[in-house]
């Protein structure tokens, strides 16, 4: 089922939790709502669920406006961050609760519980109480309860945040596979960009109640629309350096106190066309910086952190600290001089005032 949010707003008194949000989720798509805590992403989810009524705007399921449809009539399943299992009921009763309310025939009920329990592999836990289960098991039970109604839309609120690190990585791939097998339109909320990038078909980055960008993980990473998205996506985070964009001899230059970079022609003219002033923020991801080159900027090693597969180097360039990811072997002492150079085809440029990317075609 398609989910379309149109001009959606939710205000709690003076606070605008969600502001004029537009989003179109395709049938069978796995979409992540990503943003820092308090950005309004859970509010969006609860509006789709029908728990909160939008202050303004419309919610469509396919062609139907569902603003006034009760949660129980929306054909949705939801897993809460706290799992919200009913502690006084056994696992079986928890899972079967939605069917009980629908007054499904007893034999059918048992058959469906058996099926869904098999799907999330909790067949042997059905007689236990939620208090006797581990976090991972509780999550599976919550998932089973959400799936037993055979919902058309599945909503997950921070599904992995209460699990330990190992289990989280396992559940990440499992959830992704399950979603594809079932083909249910799924929306999940997370503050963890890694979770969003790894699991979702498309990611909606939300900040301060506004949609920042809605595109594939690859697009988000390589072509962020604005400073917020660029800074929020990626770990270790992108480097931002304040520079000025200047033109000399028909070519564009990036200039700062510590360096001067001539831009490739196409890049330069694009940035030049889009910029509103010469004040520009240069963004470069740590893996797109080369270290120990013969030519480049002179920097001083601040600290070296080996990560196993890679090595993270922090280097002082003027007043700013530049993070560089390089592959082993790399050795340098603190205070040693190294030369850095940027891969020019990978750099991003943002307008300092509007915070928008200068390299994307205007829409």
């Amino acid at each position: 089922m398609k989910v379309i949010l149109k001009d959606l707003s939710k205000h709690f008194g003076e606070v605008k939790a969600v502001d004029d949000l537009d989003l179109e989720i395709d049938d069978g798509e796995f979409v992540a709502l990503l943003g820092p805590s308090g950005c309004g992403k859970t509010t969006i989810l609860l509006m789709i669920a029908g728990i909160y009524k939008p202050t303004k705007g419309l919610i469509y399921f396919d062609e139907r406006v569902v603003n006034n449809v009760l949660p129980k009539d929306r054909k949705i399943g939801m897993v809460f961050q706290s799992y919200a299992l009913y502690p006084h009921m056994t696992v079986f009763s928890n899972i079967v609760f939605p069917l009980r309310l629908m007054k499904v025939h007893k034999e059918e009920m048992e058959e469906r519980v058996r099926k869904v329990a098999q799907l999330v592999r909790i067949e042997e836990l059905l007689d236990r109480k939620p208090g006797q289960l581990s976090g991972g098991q509780q999550q599976r039970v919550a998932l089973a309860r959400a799936l037993i109604k055979e919902p058309e839309i599945l909503l997950l609120d921070e599904p992995l945040s209460n699990l330990d690190a190992r289990l989280r990585i396992m559940m990440r791939s499992e959830l992704k596979r399950l979603q594809k097998d079932l083909g249910i339109t799924t929306v999940f909320v997370t503050h963890d960009q890694l979770e969003a990038l790894t699991m979702a078909d498309r990611v909606a980055v939300v900040n301060l109640g506004c949609l920042q960008q809605f595109s594939t993980p690859d697009e988000l990473y390589n072509h962020p629309k604005n400073l917020f998205v660029a800074g929020f996506i990626g770990s270790p985070p992108i480097n931002f350096i304040n520079v000025s964009l200047e033109k000399s001899d028909g070519r564009f230059l990036l200039k700062s106190r510590d360096f001067e970079i001539p831009l490739p022609k196409e890049l330069g003219s694009k940035a030049g066309n889009n910029s509103t002033s010469s004040e520009v923020v240069l963004g470069i991801r740590p893996e797109h910086i080369l270290i120990n080159e013969k030519e480049g900027m002179d920097t001083e090693v601040y600290v070296v952190e080996p990560l196993g597969r890679e090595i993270l180097v922090s280097a002082q360039l003027g007043d700013s600290m530049i993070k560089v990811l390089t592959s082993p072997p790399f050795k340098a002492d603190m205070g040693e001089k190294v030369r850095l150079s940027f891969k020019l085809d990978k750099i991003m440029l943002f307008d300092k005032k509007t915070e928008k990317s200068l390299l994307l075609d205007k829409d």
Partner: protein
């Protein structure tokens, strides 16, 4: 437990200083026990006197028991005075009073506690504040007012009148306790049930009520005991013997115009306190939980 003990024994043998420590702890314990025993003596001796007095032939000066006899328990099968009602009718009245208070209190306070905890409505904070004030009101100051209200409602001289008055005064406290219990349940639980297909009322009945079970149990017990031990309203509002409760019965033994039959007083008192004592012993584990919920209510 067994493995714990074993583990404790090992260092004790190898480390002599720990035995010294152990002895100190024991002294402290003995001290505490002696204090507790002394402190509970007045109550214990009171009960002991009740028991001995109820089965003795006579009590000199109303205190010193002599001989052994069940004659004080005679009231169970015959009326001590012709004008008094049958003890079993009185017991039934008392049970009716206790259960009546309990049922009304539980029904009203669970629903009101839920609404106050979960819903926004105009006058909510005023309602909360006024329940607190009502709770602080000493019942005795309302005695005359209640008398008139009950007379207008034609509920004087009936157990029902006492039930309503007592329940009404108990409800504010119970609402606060129940609100605390409901506050302790996360919204997720409720939202989840709504999405699972429940109506708001089904959420209340199938999810919320079972989860506040300890609170309901605690309030039921308190309300029951309050009803069972109600004295002032019973004495004031009920005159007619057929509507007596055990409190009026015991009171009548004391207030008899000729002399006080201390043997009968002991026996009836014991008969009166017995059920509550048993009830208390079996339900005290629920009573322990209510303090937890009660603290939450203060938020």
């Amino acid at each position: 437990m067994k493995s714990l003990r074993k583990r404790n024994k090992v260092p004790r043998k190898s480390n002599p200083s720990s035995t010294v420590e152990k002895r100190e702890v024991d002294f402290l314990k003995i001290g505490i026990y002696i204090f507790l025993i002394l402190a509970s003596m007045p109550i214990f001796l009171g009960f002991l006197w009740l028991f001995i007095g109820s089965v003795s032939k006579s009590l000199t000066y109303g205190i010193i028991p002599e001989g052994f006899s069940f004659k004080n328990w005679r009231f169970l099968w015959e009326k001590p005075y012709p004008s008094w009602p049958d003890i079993w009718l009185v017991s039934l009245n008392t049970l009716f009073l206790a259960f009546g208070v309990m049922i009304i209190v539980v029904a009203v306070s669970t629903m009101a506690g839920y609404v106050i905890s979960r819903m926004k409505f105009p006058g909510r904070s005023f309602l909360l504040a006024s329940t607190l004030i009502l709770h602080a009101f000493p019942a005795i100051t309302l005695l005359i007012g209640l008398y008139y209200v009950l007379r207008v409602l034609n509920l004087l001289d009936s157990v029902m009148g006492v039930i309503l008055a007592r329940a009404g005064l108990f409800i504010p406290f119970a609402i606060w306790i129940m609100k605390g219990f409901f506050d302790g349940i996360s919204w997720d639980m409720e939202m989840s049930a709504l999405i699972d297909g429940a109506s708001r009322f089904q959420v209340f009945r199938k999810i919320m009520l079972p989860m506040v079970g300890p609170g309901i149990a605690g309030i039921s017990i308190f309300a029951f005991i309050t009803g069972w031990s109600e004295f002032i309203f019973v004495i004031t509002f009920i005159r007619k013997p057929s509507a007596w409760t055990l409190t009026s019965y015991v009171n009548s033994v004391i207030a008899n115009w000729r002399f006080v039959d201390f043997g009968l007083l002991a026996a009836t008192s014991l008969f009166y306190v017995g059920p509550v004592l048993l009830f208390f012993i079996f339900t005290q584990k629920y009573l322990m939980q209510i303090t937890v919920g009660g603290m939450k209510g203060g938020r």
